[in-house]
């Protein structure tokens, strides 16, 4: 198989574009797709301070690498989740990347800084681990960005992530989530702007990008994610994509182009009644924000240090 751009031996296929690329042309393709997403959706301006949400996985490290290569002023923030056997190597990958690129990495550790880990919080707050993790991350990224003067938070959500979330939101006709499922969420009411520059890249492409760039990342799956609903949606979409390459991209980008009316006005309605949390200052419609409630409940429980399972999959 030959590279579509230069005719050299290809290393990566991109079936939805009926293309394949050699290593150098593939890296250019990835950077171009990110630059195009940033431009199309007006995600970033030159000179803005960007805080990249870094997990130590392929998506966030690829995103950070590409933003730096594109000349953006991008620092990283890594959050330690307190998952024994998983959080340590994830943090090491984030630190090694930052050191190699001479980039600035901020760190927050849930057990050290807030007195809980994701397992404990999930049990205490009667949430799934992924829900407790997502709530913690969103809150901390938002607060760190606002408190430290960053203009925007960039997350590594890729095309597969967004298509899977869209499928889930449509299956449940969750208009509030559909209204928020945009590649750019504007700043306001105490929230920083949030952007998803990887929405034009599939997760196979961000993984290939890291391999070709020599970026070491956390390959093993989070032990808490096995069997979660999001992975089920991905599996269903993958089965369709296998037969009809390009379906995921058409589904998600079609939603962005033509699905704007879904949930129109819901987001504005949701933001009515927002006020600062009396404990931490984060915007909330409740007496105390969801994060502070979770911290309070988790703090009353001993930390759960269960052995890490091997997870599902390969």
């Amino acid at each position: 198989m030959k590279c579509r751009s230069c005719g050299a031996r290809a290393a990566v296929e991109v079936r939805r574009h009926n293309s394949a690329f050699c290593p150098q042309c593939f890296l250019s393709y990835c950077r171009n797709q990110v630059a195009r997403a940033i431009d199309e959706h007006k995600m970033l301006q030159r000179g803005e301070r960007v805080l990249v949400a870094v997990s130590g996985g392929k998506d966030s490290l690829a995103l950070w690498d590409i933003l730096l290569d594109l000349g953006y002023d991008a620092d990283g923030l890594y959050i330690g989740l307190g998952l024994a056997g998983y959080s340590e190597p994830s943090g090491e990958h984030a630190r090694a990347f930052a050191a190699g690129r001479q980039a600035k990495l901020l760190e927050v550790d849930l057990p050290a800084d807030f007195g809980y880990d994701v397992r404990t919080a999930a049990a205490a707050d009667r949430r799934t681990p992924c829900s407790a993790c997502g709530l913690s991350k969103r809150h901390i990224f938002d607060r760190q960005a606002v408190d430290k003067g960053y203009d925007v938070v960039a997350t590594g959500h890729n095309l597969d992530d967004e298509a899977a979330v869209l499928l889930g939101n449509l299956l449940h006709w969750d208009l509030a989530y559909l209204a928020r499922q945009r590649p750019v969420l504007p700043a306001g009411d105490g929230f920083p702007r949030k952007v998803k520059p990887l929405v034009r890249l599939a997760e196979r492409e961000t993984a290939a990008y890291c391999v070709l760039r020599g970026i070491e990342y956390q390959v093993e799956e989070c032990p808490m994610s096995a069997g979660n609903r999001h992975l089920g949606y991905k599996d269903a979409l993958d089965a369709i994509e296998e037969r009809s390459p390009g379906t995921k991209a058409a589904f998600y980008h079609g939603f962005l182009e033509r699905g704007g009316a879904l949930g129109a006005g819901v987001a504005e309605e949701e933001r009515k009644g927002l006020h600062p949390c009396p404990n931490c200052g984060a915007p909330t419609v409740s007496e105390l924000c969801a994060f502070c409630r979770l911290v309070a409940r988790a703090a009353g429980r001993p930390r759960r240090r269960l052995p890490v399972s091997s997870g599902a999959g390969l």
Partner: protein, 70 residues
């Protein structure tokens, strides 16, 4: 005919298959979708039309990540 050593992840384990073998045939044998993995032969990413020679070391690396999706 000789052996091809295959490293699988999640969980990490090794197995051997008969070589030479095509990438797509290997993935079929393992019950994996092409879009869900990268195939790395002797340290280099390869495309689906590649034939893996005996004596090669292959990593089949999953690319799917889960989480809250938020």
């Amino acid at each position: 005919m000789g052996k091809v050593k295959v490293l699988l992840r999640n969980p990490k384990r090794e197995l051997e298959v008969e070589g030479p073998i095509g990438v797509q045939a290997l993935l079929r044998q393992l019950g994996l979708r092409r879009e869900a993995v990268l195939v790395i032969v002797d340290g280099a990413l390869v495309t689906g039309d590649t034939t893996i020679q005996e004596g090669s070391e292959v990593e089949v690396r999953p690319v799917v990540s889960g989480g809250s999706g938020t």
